[in-house]
Assembly symmetry: C2
Homo-oligomer: 283 residues x 2
Amino acid sequence: MTGATLRTGGQHTSKSLLLIGTGLIGGSFALAAKSNGIFDRVVGMDRNEQALQRALDLGIVDAVAESIAADCAAVCVAVPVGSIAACVREAAAQAPLVFDVGSVKQPIVDALAPAPANFVPCHPIAGSERAGPEAADADLFRGHAVALTPVPTTNADAIATVRGYWQAVGAEVVVESPAAHDSRLALLSHLPHLVAFAFMEVASGAESLRGAGGGFRDFTRIAAADAEVWADILHSNAPCVKHYLDQLVDALHGFAAEQDSATLRRRIEAAATVKRALDATEP
Amino acid sequence: MTGATLRTGGQHTSKSLLLIGTGLIGGSFALAAKSNGIFDRVVGMDRNEQALQRALDLGIVDAVAESIAADCAAVCVAVPVGSIAACVREAAAQAPLVFDVGSVKQPIVDALAPAPANFVPCHPIAGSERAGPEAADADLFRGHAVALTPVPTTNADAIATVRGYWQAVGAEVVVESPAAHDSRLALLSHLPHLVAFAFMEVASGAESLRGAGGGFRDFTRIAAADAEVWADILHSNAPCVKHYLDQLVDALHGFAAEQDSATLRRRIEAAATVKRALDATEP
């Protein structure tokens, strides 16, 4: 099925997407969806008028909207995590199908409870430390995972339609619970960002970063990420991040206090082995 | 001047380098030094006989030695940090000029005190998470910084000769005190490695690392480093690493506990700004 079959009342006359939030992820989905023929037209909304204008200039959106209109096949909510629930509530009341791209899922479904049946919570696990419509890329999702975290009341046809969107733009869909997603991403993405931000805060106190090599630059690459997006993510997923942060701090102190050289070497070797095994898998 | 002018007693008949330790850094220096004409010949020693044989097979060394011979222009000590002082002491007693490539400097000069006048402590700030002679690269040092950390008793001619070696292989020489070096590197290299190891230890407890994206992979790239080398570095530079680790843990807890969204955003933005400024500089 396609989004078209979710039209209600015959009021939707074209296969158009309403994109709310024209940043990196939303802009990339718009470009990918048009180039793959999922939608004929993308209408954009963004409270940041400059970003919206740039998205229009760049051809990411074909037109702009002042408010959520009902004449679209689907709404993609691509705003910072803290603003998603309110945006989804309004969109789901008017449009046939709504999905988001937020990096944290449980707080969104909790804030909506009960989540509208025509809302499919999504998180494409792709991105960049770059931000804004200029960074949008039609191939951003190709070969990357997209998590779908429906709740028991989510409409099965809506899930199937949104799954089809992501598959059409080249992504691999993984279905999991919002809680499992948030725990997994706390470890794989949110805590690494927190560490990179904290590290650069410490480093900013140093006399000079002269001599920072490739290792340091890669280690802190994600620290250049968008502050508004990441403040929201870290705030929203604070309990899961704290869980792994406590483990990390224990491990850091354990490594630093290790007096036995052979034990230290074994711990490093075990960590390096896990990393090498990860590197041997596809990104 | 060249190393040749440091010959004593006319016993040195060819411009040869004795390389002790045939891993990534030592092997790369040997390749770079020969290709740049600094030495005619490289004689290798390594307690790891397999590595030594591979270095010979790869043409990194031209011959192997059983013990430190006096008929060389210089000795490059490229063994793990914990073994450097003993190796330098023996080499400096027999050869005209000795330098090392260890990542930590103060504990080495402390262990030698008084450090031999013909020993120039060095640290080329270049490397890779790869290890062993197979990873050796004649261009490894090109455009990278090399720290020279002489002590007041280090012979000025020896410093000038070793500076010339590094410049000849394309590196940029920085002279600083051993203590300043160790503090700087604790922040720029040693603590990032410690964090990456600790992070992979925590991650190894996760059910699956499925979905680890490019950010995670870059953040943990250095965790694949050589365990023996890094156990020695972290052990040797423990006080400096601990100094910055305490700051990092404070910052981590500060970020995680930050309830005010605007403050969190400002802290992230400040960190991201430092990172972007760093990225705008040459690596």
